[in-house]
């Protein structure tokens, strides 16, 4: 294959971006200052047209010069109008694949594709901002076929007659939300509350134009002053909010599909703006199960897969690495086991010893101390209550203590043969599960107080973007020692190349 240009429609996308970034300036220069003939406007207009023309030419030249080539199981990217550069990225470096079909893509029946590597900086991903669906399919397929390690490579060479498309069609769908799930999700996500700022800003916008408030004064007196009128108005607003929340949730999570085949996991979602994420199973660095207080009450949880590659498209973090954020907890555990048979999440975790409860109460809270000193100096008097400053201080202390107690109750951990599981958090809890061979570094710290109590803090570092630190406070010394010797045994699982 010889170097190929990207799809010409990419220029449409770039032009659209140009309109977005230059639109305001254009309106200012040509609409708002329409009649102006000051020197500033004159030169600004010339400058604007020049910059715009240059940008358009550069869009065209970029399309002409930027090329890609696929050879030897690598991407070769050519770019640069004046300074030419060539970049080679082997398929084996790709951590995950993100795909996004935005509204513009839909109109043109195209899609965008992004291959993420674990490198940092500008070269971290290979982006196809505009590709036909067929080509996206083909590219993804090509990267997927890449053998995962040298063992499989030699195996594949031995049986060359094996039909290449063997693993293609046994994709299993593990989860797709039912209508009931979505309605529950729309309430849990509290998205119906979002109508309030929307209505608020709409109202103030209208107000600027039509000055409703003044007219409403007159209108208000004409309104029937009966209770049922207000009840009706309230009911309409509530129903509208709920409908808004439900519609928003349906648009965002409606098409959620979690699927997998032998080697990969696929997550896709969205109705108007579709995104898809796919990752090879053995590239999953860790799993996080996150529960906000509301989700805990309703028995729901969010499951996130940690990848060493990026999980956003462009500047946006789209959270596409999240399995459905409103999974019933039990179902979440089952799905993890179905998706990643190599992982096993257990409910049977160790609690912290009693002495870590006391250490948490004894540990000085610097935030509280500083806050109290500040309160003491300034002695604020909200609501004209003279002694309020020490009441605030006590309240703050109480909150601190409650948070610490909650964290103590929620903290649990377990070290299995190949896994470590750590859970902590006060209001929202996070359960972190990772395999020994995916941990790139461990540490153990012991402060003065901890040494008196025979306790230690353990920490792990995992690959992600940026690296993911996780850990648990105040576990017994001997378990920290066990943790270190457990990590020393990681050679059992790793293969050196």
């Amino acid at each position: 294959m010889s170097p190929k240009r990207y799809h010409p429609l990419i220029m449409v996308l770039e032009l659209f971006g140009l309109v977005k970034s230059f639109g305001f300036i254009a309106i200012y220069l040509f609409v708002i200052r329409f009649g102006s003939d000051s020197g500033f406007t004159y030169y600004a207009r010339i400058g604007f047209v020049l910059v715009l023309a240059l940008s358009m030419v550069s869009i065209f030249l970029k399309w002409r010069t930027n090329k890609y080539e696929i050879e030897d199981e690598s991407f070769h990217l050519y770019s640069g109008i004046f300074t030419k550069s060539k970049q080679t990225i082997p398929f084996s470096r790709i951590q995950n694949v993100n795909r996004r079909t935005s509204f513009i893509h839909k109109l043109l029946s195209m899609t965008s594709l992004q291959f993420e590597t674990s490198m940092s900086g500008n070269d971290a991903s290979i982006e196809f901002k505009m590709v036909t669906k067929e080509e996206a399919e083909m590219l993804e397929e090509m990267v997927k076929k890449q053998p995962l390690n040298s063992d499989e490579l030699s195996l594949a060479k031995d049986n060359e007659e094996l039909p290449e498309t063997k693993a293609e069609d046994n994709r299993i769908v593990h989860f797709t939300p039912t209508r009931k799930d979505l309605i529950r999700a729309s309430f849990t996500s509290l998205s119906f509350l979002l109508l309030i700022p929307v209505v608020g800003s709409l109202f103030s916008n209208f107000n600027d134009v039509f000055s409703i408030e003044e007219e409403a004064q007159g209108l208000l007196s004409a309104l029937p002053q009966t209770w049922w009128f207000y009840a009706l108005a309230a009911a309409i607003i509530i129903i509208a909010s709920v409908l808004f929340g439900v519609v928003r949730t349906f648009l965002k999570y409606g098409n959620y599909v979690i699927a997998s085949d032998d080697n990969r996991i696929y997550i896709s979602k969205g109705v108007l703006d579709e995104t898809a994420f796919s990752i090879s199973k053995n590239r999953v660095q860790a799993i996080e199960i996150i529960q906000t207080p509301l989700k805990r009450i309703l028995g729901l949880a969010e499951v996130k897969l940690t990848s060493a590659g990026g999980v956003g498209i462009g500047e946006e973090n789209l959270e596409i690495n999240s399995l459905y954020p409103f999974l019933p907890v039990q179902r979440a555990y089952e799905i993890i086991e179905e998706l990643l048979p190599a992982y096993s999440v257990t409910n049977d975790m160790k609690k912290l010893p009693r002495r870590s409860f006391w250490i948490r109460l004894l540990r000085p809270s610097w935030i509280w101390i500083i806050a109290t000193i500040t309160l003491f100096i300034f002695k604020p008097e909200p609501f004209d209550i003279e002694i309020a400053w020490w009441l605030i201080s006590i309240l703050l202390l109480l909150i601190t203590v409650i948070f610490r107690v909650l964290d103590y109750i929620n903290s649990q951990y377990v070290i299995n043969e190949h896994f470590i599981q750590m859970k902590s958090g006060s209001l929202s809890t996070t359960l972190f599960v990772t395999k020994r061979d995916k941990i790139i570094e461990v540490n153990v710290t012991r402060g003065i107080l901890q040494r008196q109590f025979g306790l230690a803090t353990i920490g792990t570092v995992n690959r992600s973007k940026p690296v993911h630190h996780s850990g648990i406070d105040d576990i017994p010394d001997e378990l920290a020692a066990l943790f270190v010797s457990w990590y020393r045994e990681r050679k059992q699982e790793i293969t050196i190349k």
């Binding site: 084996s92 674990s118 390690n149 040298s150 590239r283 061979d437 790139i440 570094e441 461990v442 540490n443 153990v444 710290t445 012991r446 402060g447 003065i448 040494r451 570092v461 690959r463 940026p466 690296v467 010394d477 001997e478 920290a480 020692a481 066990l482 270190v484 010797s485 990590y487 020393r488 990681r490 050679k491 790793i494 293969t495 050196i496 190349k497």
Partner: protein, 163 residues
Amino acid sequence: MTAEIHNPTNKLSPEAKKVWRITGLIEDVIGLVVIAVLLFLDHYFNWVDWLGWIFIGLAVLTIPSVIWTFVRPHLLYKSWRYDADEEFLHLKFGTITEKHELIPMTKIQAVTTNKGPIMKKFGLMTISVETMGSSHSIPCLKEEVALQLRNEIAQYAKLKEVE
């Protein structure tokens, strides 16, 4: 199963204490000079009242800081241990909070040595190790020891894991 984390065995050069004390003292002196200048400016330009008190408070705090400058190197030297074998780099250090760090050799991406003017005078070097997400250093090793350790780590770190 061991009840204690196995401690690494290698120590830093005893000269480390001197280097830390000298650098600590230089920092203290710089701090005092800055405070003195500020106090002078405060006096000269008649700044707000309470600002002067803050400067005096800072000046008073220099006294415990100087004491700590003398005590800390001793404690830190006593706490520092490191080990490097073909599998792991193990560091242990810390005066108030004790920290163990265990880094697999396969995850080390770069190792460098460097020395400042004071360390140079005592013939010492610092080794820095870079991994994918962090950097660690072993300060104040004798030059020969540092260079040998650097080469050893570089040798061990050549191997990489299949991802």
